[in-house]
Amino acid sequence: MGAPFDIGYVFSFLPKLLDTLGVTLLIVAGSLLTGIVAGFLVALPRMYKIPVLRTLSGVYLSFFRGTPILIQLFLFYYGLPEILKPVGLDLTRAPVMFFVILTYGLHTGAYAAEMIRASVEAVDRGQVEAAYAAGMTPYQAFSRIVLPQALGIAVPVFSNLVIALLKDTSLAFTLGVMEMTGKAQTLGTLTQHFIETYIALAFIYLIISFTLEKMLLAAERRLTRHENREEKRESIFRLKKRGSYRTVLADIHAGKGGGA
């Protein structure tokens, strides 16, 4: 299958794949924005317990977390034009990128909603009461007390969300978007050096997710510096102190237990 292994190809493929890095990052950024907006819209009815809307949010969450992203991509790509046709919206000529960003955005929205809700709920209720007691208005209490703390709590989850999204974008090629994975497949077919292309591809993904993780870790440190965190000790069988144990939990609580 294919030509014999030649490490030289890995290096020559790297710059070619990096050419399409922009498309991948565009999908990530676009869906992240869509996802955060969608996440807020979905999380608010659940946090404020608004009837009906809250049930709708629940169905939204259950659907987007209950079906694979690959199926969602096809569903939106083929289904949305048909659903919107009777309303008078013609999407048949819309660019594929629109469907890709929309689907990834809505998918991310479900996880973002849970992240938002969990981080706001994790802020101690007494903090808000103390803010009120000190004479703050509800808006002040939210922006000065709740938000900064919730942000710090959300960052580790957010970090996982972004990295999961980055990895998920490798599926966009199924709709014909020429992002990194699509490019890798083309290169592989052209040169018959499949294994080398995929190694180069994996390497690029690894570097990007590593960089993102480190950047967000720095952001987390900055945002949680008020919690005077003890130095990281990782002794076995020990319930770690809030700060770091939370990170361990967040690591998997991103909801995505698997790769895709």
Binding site: G66, D168, L206, R238, L239, V248, I252, G258, A260
Partner: protein, 236 residues
């Protein structure tokens, strides 16, 4: 192209035949992944020299790259390695005799292993150190205290994450189409393109996956109740 609601039902029946493939990929990857994950987590937590570093590198690599690349690397790389070894040692076994689904099993197990190691690690870290000390003070050996005290509690703590992993692998199994395994997703593709009814076919596939996911969540909640029974507060 007009929406044909009755075709959703037709597609649904045709897709049911592919459920066993999807479930077998999920089951194999979760079970094998759990074993790999438990070993990896132990190596890292007990800081086994060299092995712990290898385990960390493995987890970092897998968690930093898409599952699809793991599958493709295994699919194209494994035959090369096997055939190379076979030629060198004169085995009669050739990579051609590995069924396509075998690649999915192997690659997804490796993927699941990295995620599972984090699940196992978080579960064990959630057990209070005092529990182990208490076990040792009543005379249990390390192995006894692990088996009787740590694991049952770690399992209860890890269950929600475990359920998430199972769901993640269920959804990940849709990638098997890349190595021409006909799971629910690939079947939907076939049904869709032969009948030219894409939306209906994928809607049916989405419903099946949604149902399976909800089922896994429910079962996990039931088990959680049972396993966490020791943890209830109050009397009786």
């Amino acid at each position: 192209m007009q929406l044909d609601p009755s075709f959703i039902w037709t597609a649904f029946w045709q897709l049911l035949g592919a459920i066993p493939t999807t479930l077998s990929i999920t089951a194999v990857s979760v079970l094998a992944g759990f074993v790999i994950g438990a070993v990896t987590a132990m190596l890292r937590m007990y800081r086994a020299p060299v092995l712990a570093q290898i385990a960390s590198a493995y987890v970092t690599f897998i968690r930093g790259t898409p599952m699809l690349t793991h599958l493709l690397i295994i699919y194209f790389g494994l035959p090369m390695i096997i055939d190379g070894l076979a030629e060198h040692f004169g085995w009669s076994f050739r990579s051609v005799s590995i069924p396509m689904i075998g690649f999915a099993y192997i690659s997804f197990s490796i993927t699941a292993g990295a995620y599972m190691s984090e699940v196992v690690r978080a579960g064990i870290l959630a057990v209070d150190r005092g529990q182990v000390e208490a076990a040792q003070s009543v005379g249990m050996t390390t192995f006894q205290s692990l088996r009787r005290i740590v694991f049952p509690q770690a399992l209860a703590a890890a269950l929600p994450n475990l359920a998430n992993s199972v769901i993640g692998m269920l959804h990940g199994s849709t990638l098997a189409f890349a190595v021409s395994v006909v799971d629910i997703n690939a079947k939907a593709q076939i049904v869709a393109s032969t009948n030219w009814k894409f939306f209906e076919a994928y809607l049916a596939a989405a419903l099946i996956f949604w149902g399976l996911t909800v089922l896994i969540e429910r079962v996990a909640a039931l088990i959680e109740k049972r396993v966490g029974a020791y943890n209830r507060g109050g009397v009786a």
